[in-house]
Amino acid sequence: MASLKIQGRLWVLQRNGELISDIDTDMIFHNQYLAITDIAKMGQYAFDNLEGFKDFAKLAKPGDIVLAGDNFGSGSSRQQAVDCFTSLGVKAVIARSYGAIYKRNAINSAFPVITMPDAKASDFSHLETVVLDMEKGLLRDRKVEPMSGVQKDIFFAGGLFQYAETLKK
């Protein structure tokens, strides 16, 4: 059963001490791989176009959590930019803000994207193990926005269409 309280290593996506902002979908999952439709094969390309984190896919472990700056996932509407994390077993992304389409895509596929309006790189050490409580809205001891009711509905159903099934019962 999916849980709203998870524990994992925190990837602090930073450059010169600042969380990286405007990580677009081409940095997350480059358009040269768009022909891939099998989720299992997507993970290996995650962030392979993000300067400084090109070896992310090799080093990431199931359960890891990603922390970034503003406007994460801006750009195209490609679903692969969400699915590549599921593929690696990454459990959540936390960012100061998101591209609107990215956020919809992630929520719709039951992948937790959590907003942390005042996130700072200096509050965490890279790859430290943290607890993320998406119910209470806590990352370690810092406040994040808790999941909305809608996001929880879809998260527990396992996706948007799976949620539609639960409506009929």
Binding site: S77, R104, N108, G149, V150, Q151, D153, L160, F161, K168
Partner: protein, 415 residues
Amino acid sequence: MGRTLIQKIISKHGGGECAGGDVVWMDIDNRSARDFAGANVVGNLEKYGGDSPIADPEKTFFTFDCNVPANTIPYATNQHRIRLYAREQHLKVWDVNAGIGSHVVIEEGLAKPGTTTIGTDSHLNIMGAVGAFGQGMGDVDTAFAFKSGKIWFQVPESVKVTLKGMPAPGTEAKDVALAMLREFGSHTLLGKSVEVQGEWLDQAELSDCITFASLGTELGAIIILLPPNQKVLDAFSMKREEAVYADDDAVYEKEYTLDITGLTPLLAAPPNPHNVHAVSEYADTKVDGVFIGSCTNGSYADMAYAAKLLKGRKVADGVMLKVVPATRTTWMRLLHEGLLADLFDAGAIVSNAGCGGCASGQIGMTGSGEVQISTSNRNFTGKQGKGDTYLAGIGTAAASAVLGRIASVNELEEV
């Protein structure tokens, strides 16, 4: 605490006592997909829809308007895939003869004040023209709405814009919309629900409201919501109590005033809709083509105005005038009332109802270096061809067609 128009519409559709920023489930009255992305909606429903893929066939339909009739094999194939699916599921298709989906849905009285509509057209927020909610969505969200009758939505913050005063004669709804783009650009209203009011809107025709609200997408707004005036209520045979209005003490994140007193005709020069200038600044620019139509300026009243201006006049030598009514109903009225003859005699090429010059070059594209005046809503490079597209109202478009250079309607009256 008083509530804004969008909050009241969403509450009425199952969203509870929602505030800006809340994420809610909301019921959708009209669930639509157009030929663009419609086939993906079908694909999603086939994949995830299960045994009962459609919540309510009466409220669910397809509108073909981008490429009508299809002139590429992929569009033709997609449209037919949709037709077959719609037959099987007993869904209505407004097919290639019907016209622009958003206008059809208003014309049919489905999108009336206070209702909710979503679909795969990014200009569906045009429903704000009648004080209704509308929103373009991706193919996954649209398929989900087909299946469940709901979408999830983050309630936008509401802002209020008061338009002060009345524009000069010869200035039309498009010019007022362009004045909004000049004032606010594409960032100030980003992600907001923008409620607009003022003396000019109190007397505006339904078609003016449609033109004005259609540029919400270019403003970056979630929607421009206009409280229905008497003319809009009459168009739907509704009483004021049946429509939804903001509370008098509604609280807005911000309030703005835009003075439109004495406003004269404007245009948006390339390369984007925010590059707004007075028409007079471009008076010497030679024009090669003129497009009159689109969801912004394709209503019957727009076409009738164009016909009135062109009656007894001739399009200048070497200028192509392309006219595309938004819907078949408008087309039929123009035909039966003889206005089509006025357009035709002036030299216009009139095409079948649809998105026309705005999508996939249904009535031709522009070539490099070609100057076109268009009454549509986007002039990004490539959208209507490789040429330079200037966005303007009907009067400017018609006057420019006759004079062969960029001109405002007041100059036409001197000819």
